[in-house]
Symmetry: C2
Subunit: 465 residues, 2 copies
């Protein structure tokens, strides 16, 4: 039928010659040992591409995509391969289009609070460049030291700062993309606002490299909050921690981070905390407030009081940046240790209404037993975004665990939630898409895909078939 995979061509010697001719020898990787590196992201999904094109310009991207239409071969764009849904894992026998060399920060404009960057810029590099000029680029996915801004935009990446500052979408004002047909198109604006025509920019954001290849981004920067303070709070029950979260928000405070770890996470990493009592607690909150010096401390004290009023066992202020890093390191080590300890690890990423987080987590043990999984829950309490880390004793349990994951996702949906808050669908969650979206919604999305990519050459098979 109309939307099934077209018969793609393999990369024949003739096609390879055409590609070489179009993008130049320097851009090509053909060495099988090196190709493997470009066949994976941060999931377990693997697919070695036929070749890799490492573009340095939109013109090269254009040339490659035009050839892809002529010869009908699949092209998968790739930032720095830190995705958590397989979105940049290539199609069998296809081409990976790496944007890693397009990594220049073209401008940081302090008069207009705007940055113009190429897609391969590392998130942290942009943060630092902005900060050195008194400005701030807020989106902060966990992989910020290694992930690319282009990939962040393609997946609409979020992070702890989302509660106060929103996701990548909120910072992309405009972009240049090469459409699958080879057309280079400017979308959006170079200003802080714009409502001219349909919002193609934000249709591109979050489309996981299926509607176009982003080759330049115009990003909103904001004033840099000079001061940041951190507080860690322990609770005897997760439900108490979550009551504290809503009390904090309704009292007029907007923390710049509001993270939680559940009991099982505390068992795993509690030893790393620079104070006692963590292993006896059932929940931990990491809270940050940013803003002007002298003000953030006072605000955080009030937040600490609200936590204690809501039954917290103890609250610890990080007195300096060293202690602050220590506390964040605990949060980061959760994923590291889970991966170390368990042969099977699937990082799920549901969102439920904030008020349902505790209820959601409390219902997981029943599912664990049913499907032979162990689940670690942590994440962004202020957004309701829970990183449900599903593990099992053996990879042989993968089939059973997938059924378990389906039950976990169904539970999130039954609470008015969503199956992905920041990771996206890619190939990892494609089979679950119809659990959340209606047939009509998927039909419309496929038709939009068809407008941009009539020959279905760009990242086919991602999000939907």
């Amino acid at each position: 039928m109309f939307y099934s995979s077209p018969p793609y061509s393999p990369i024949t010697p003739q096609i390879l010659a055409d590609i070489r001719n179009a993008v130049g020898e320097d851009a090509l990787i053909e060495d099988p040992a090196k190709l493997e590196e470009y066949g994976k992201d941060a999931t377990d999904h693997r697919q070695t591409p036929a070749i890799v094109v490492r573009a340095v310009s939109a013109a090269q991207v254009q040339a490659l995509l035009r050839l892809a239409n002529v010869h009908r071969f699949p092209v998968t764009p790739r930032g720095l391969g830190t995705g958590l849904a397989g979105g940049s894992v290539p199609s069998p026998g296809g081409v990976v289009l790496s944007l890693e060399r397009m990594n220049r920060i073209l401008s940081i404009d302090t008069d207009n609070l705007i940055a113009v960057v190429e897609p391969g810029v590392i998130n942290l590099d942009l943060k630092k460049a902005a900060q050195s000029k008194g400005l701030f680029y807020p989106p902060d996915p966990a992989s910020l030291e290694t992930c690319s801004i282009g990939g962040n935009a393609a997946t609409n990446a979020g992070g702890p700062a989302c509660i106060k500052y929103g996701t990548t979408r909120d910072y992309v004002l405009g972009l240049e993309a090469v459409l699958p047909t080879g057309e280079i198109m400017e979308m959006g604006v170079q200003t802080r606002k714009g409502v001219v025509g349909y919002d193609l920019t934000h249709l591109m954001v979050g489309s996981e490299g299926t509607l176009g290849v982003i080759t330049r981004l115009i990003l909103k920067l904001i004033p840099n909050p000079v001061s940041v303070n951190t507080l860690v709070v322990l609770f005897p029950e997760l439900s108490m921690a979550m009551k504290a979260v809503t009390s904090i928000l309704v009292s007029g405070h907007i923390p710049s981070a509001l993270e939680f770890l559940d009991r099982r996470c505390l068992e795993l990493v509690g030893d790393l905390l620079p104070f006692e009592g963590a292993r006896d607690a059932a929940a931990l909150l990491v809270l940050e407030v940013d803003g002007l010096p002298g003000i953030t401390e006072r605000e955080l004290e009030k937040i600490g009081e609200i936590c204690l009023e809501n039954g917290a066992l103890d609250a610890f202020f990080a007195p300096d940046s060293h202690k602050r890093s220590q506390m964040w390191e605990v949060r980061r080590q959760v994923s590291v240790r889970i991966e170390r300890d368990w042969p099977l690890y699937v990082p799920e990423d549901v969102v439920v209404p904030i008020g349902r987080i505790a209820d959601f987590v409390d219902g997981l043990p029943a599912l664990e037993e049913l499907y032979e999984m162990k689940i670690y829950s942590f994440g962004h309490a202020g957004d309701g975004n829970i990183h449900v880390s599903v593990t099992a004793e053996s990879r042989d349990l993968a089939g059973k665990v997938e059924k378990g994951i389906r039950a976990v996702l169904a539970r999130a949906l039954s609470m008015g939630g969503t199956i992905s808050g920041e990771h996206g669908i890619g190939i990892a969650k494609k089979q679950f898409l119809p659990m959340e979206l209606s047939t009509e919604s998927i039909r419309i999305q496929k038709e939009i895909k068809r407008i941009f990519d009539p020959n279905m050459i760009l990242n086919p098979g991602k999000i939907f078939d």
Copy 2:
């Protein structure tokens, strides 16, 4: 050709009977005297509809749109008619679908900081309902006392708060819409995050009622800033005021409003200011800081100092809410007095990079002379969004003024700006669209329209033909 207007049917007695049967007598307005009211918005555009359907449910909207497809008559959705681009002015001989009676706030959820509302809810009513529960709905178009949330979403409305809080887009988490084909579709999420599939929600936002009729909105609320303080600053030159704006931002302050008036506006309304000296100044800034009590005052003092360092003539704090309203009233009276004083008045709405505002405004006198216009400039300094109010001595000058407006818009575009920051395109700016968007971009947008609305029955002729 494919995209030209299909031959629409007039509302014949038979079609009217079908509509009456489908939506019920109570929903219909046929009285010609009343119809006129539904044929206009806040522009000069007028077109009396054949009939008006005042829906109370998505089911009625669905029934009407299904009939529109069967009989091929145009339907124009309408909130409360405060638009500034003619987006809700009906097609000749067509039907107006008013959402004014769908005006219930369905829930304000303090656990999850989310509101669910029908599209006809007045912006200020939602603000008040949220505030009564310690929460805040930030978008604040100038018409907030009379405009609808549905209309705000359809146009992605902004306002002074945009500099700190963003536009309506940033608060729409999900929505229910009736597609032009009659399908009722849920889009987006009921949570604070979600990245499942293409972002149809934000494609709908800003689409000016051409892709679907919004029948329910799920909105993000945030903690209510308890304290708000206001400062008014006079400058001898607009360029000095704008230097102060960037100094304020780069120093780490994010005001919740940062408005400016130019010299001509001050001449018009300076007498209303509760202090001396305004008429001798060339620019005025109105600044607000919101947040926690005891903190906002101190921050505003620092901002006042930055203004004085940048050459401000004088700075006035509003000591109480009465003075605060007085200062805002001055800002509001600009449009009122322009409309009172000038027979021809076209409210344009460009955006330029913040650092180019003064340059942009300083270049307007040359265009004024050339095209016999007088231009008042005011607006959102922190966003670069300038409400360029173009006036002329007589309506007979309309043709010449349109050429002048084209020159004004071209000037904004040449500075990296956009032709509309908050008002949208509708019919008022349709002829200027190709100045900003490429042929390819318009082609793709028209194809998207065609996916949603194959028979082109919903608000045809808006944004593009």
